[in-house]
């Protein structure tokens, strides 16, 4: 199946990421019509097991991105440790070793801003639980480009700082709990 739709679902998460992603990603159907790109703050000096965990749990395929990986509908692509992940024109992934942003590499802001540049109103950004400010500026960029901005309800989040910062930077964002985010994603049709 080729993705007829433009854009992708960009998800950013930090502290508490595994739990909330487990409420969302395994429940996506195998015909989900968009690529899913996930940026989680992971330690730089170790291999990440996120892709393996979710590949086992999900109906969708989950992989860790390598440079110039083409995005495909229904494939969940995780940012690798110690690299920024950016979206290139032509819907491929480009990695970068640039400086950390807000002490993070990968940075959610970097990924989201590149998605806003490439897809404009077809970008969907979702900021989940986390204990810092990363993602706020990126979500704002997606909203400014006409894309869809979604934030996990801080009251439900394991760590509320990141969703709160995202709401402050992007007041027009939809604020949803994990079930609401899942319902939104399930409503996306080809």
């Amino acid at each position: 199946m080729t993705g007829a739709r433009r854009g992708a679902v960009m998800i950013g998460a930090s502290a508490g990421a595994l739990e909330v992603l487990s409420l969302i990603l395994p429940r996506l159907e195998s015909d989900f019509p968009l690529p899913v790109v996930v940026v989680v703050h992971v330690p730089p000096d170790r291999r990440s097991v996120l892709a393996a965990i979710f590949d086992a749990k999900c109906r969708l395929r989950a992989i860790e991105a390598e440079d110039k990986e083409p995005l495909a509908a229904g494939v969940i692509c995780f940012a690798p440790p110690d690299y920024h992940l950016l979206i290139e024109d032509g819907d491929t992934i480009a990695l970068s070793n640039e400086d950390q942003v807000l002490f993070s590499r990968p940075s959610i802001d970097v990924a989201f801003e590149s998605a806003a540049d490439v897809w404009g109103d077809a970008a969907i950004g979702i900021v989940l639980t986390g204990a810092n400010q990363d993602g706020a500026m990126g979500l704002k960029a997606i909203a400014a480009a006409g894309g869809t901005a979604i934030v996990q309800d801080p009251g439900e989040a394991y760590a509320r700082a990141m969703p709160e910062a995202a709401i402050a930077a992007c007041p027009e964002a939809l604020v949803l709990n994990a079930d609401g985010i899942l319902s939104y994603l399930q409503s996306i049709i080809r």
């Binding site: 440079d67 690798p80 950016l86 290139e88 990695l95 970068s96 070793n97 897809w119 404009g120």
Partner: protein, 276 residues
């Protein structure tokens, strides 16, 4: 909306053309996403309103060029970065290299030299240094000068030392530098067999036959067509059974030249040239 902020993209393309025509630095086939990001940073930090203003400045003031190059070329490296890579070079590649009477090693995109010194120290430890010529190339003259100086901030040495140990180092890293104040100076003798040279993977040609090319986290900044060009150069430089090492998250899977290489140490992105 087809493309967001199209004016900025036009400005970026024009600036890259200007850099090429005025100074022969060719960033036109670099990955746009990260160029865009770094030019925005340059614009903000140089206090100008538009990318066009950056272009105006760099066209008319050659002093602006090094400043802009610092944004356009990413200089992030550490000694023995990804220790598993250097351990694999030591344990899997070096035994092959030991069968050659003389060796040429190319560190392509050596930046400020951390990877070069990692290789020289490793080769010294393995008894290969004396029969090896190391070619360390980069497009950024400031970075090459730093590489040639071999001086690093002392606060980075702890990481370098830990990496070296994890890479299976047989000596103490401190055997290879002297420290004073806040800096460490790597031993001049490490540069005895090194040729530093200005070389661009974008515009220049191959300059000799190499037994090993290490080009790590350089091509991530290129687009697919430019990656193909660079890998084509490595293909040309490497004889049958020569080695190519890439960064941890780089791959030849998407390369036009994938068939000319086989996985040698798959998990460390070390490839070997086939006969094709």
């Amino acid at each position: 909306m087809e493309t967001f902020d199209r004016i900025e993209d036009i400005e970026i393309r024009l600036l890259l053309e200007a850099l090429y025509h005025r100074y022969h630095y060719d960033f036109r086939n670099y990955a746009m996403s990260s160029i865009r990001r770094r030019l925005r940073q340059a614009r903000e930090q140089m206090g100008v309103a538009t990318i066009s203003a950056l272009q105006e400045a760099v066209l008319h003031d050659p002093d602006m060029l090094p400043k802009l190059l610092r944004y356009l070329t990413v200089q992030v490296s550490e000694m023995f970065r990804d220790p598993g890579y250097f351990r694999a070079i030591r344990e899997k590649v070096v035994p092959h290299l030991k069968t050659y009477p003389s060796l040429k090693i190319w560190i392509a995109g050596c930046s400020s030299g951390e990877e070069l010194y990692s290789f020289v120290i490793l080769f010294r430890e393995e008894g290969l240094e004396e029969r090896t010529i190391f070619y360390a190339t980069d497009i950024n003259p400031d970075a090459l000068a730093q590489a040639e100086a071999g001086v690093y901030q002392v606060d980075r040495i702890r990481l370098f030392t830990e990496n070296h140990r994890r890479a299976g180092g047989r000596t103490s890293l401190s055997d290879h530098y002297r420290s004073g104040y806040d800096r460490c100076v790597f031993d001049r003798s490490l540069r005895r067999n090194v040729v530093f040279s200005d070389h661009s993977l974008v515009t220049d040609q191959v300059f000799g036959e190499m037994q090993l090319v290490s080009c790590r986290n350089v091509m991530i900044y290129f687009d697919r067509s430019l990656q193909d060009r660079a890998v084509g150069l490595f293909r040309e430089a490497l004889p049958r059974n020569g080695f190519l090492g890439l960064g941890a998250k780089e791959t030849l899977r998407f390369s036009r030249h994938a068939d000319a290489f086989r996985d040698f140490v798959r998990e460390e992105k070390i490839y070997q040239r086939t006969g094709t």
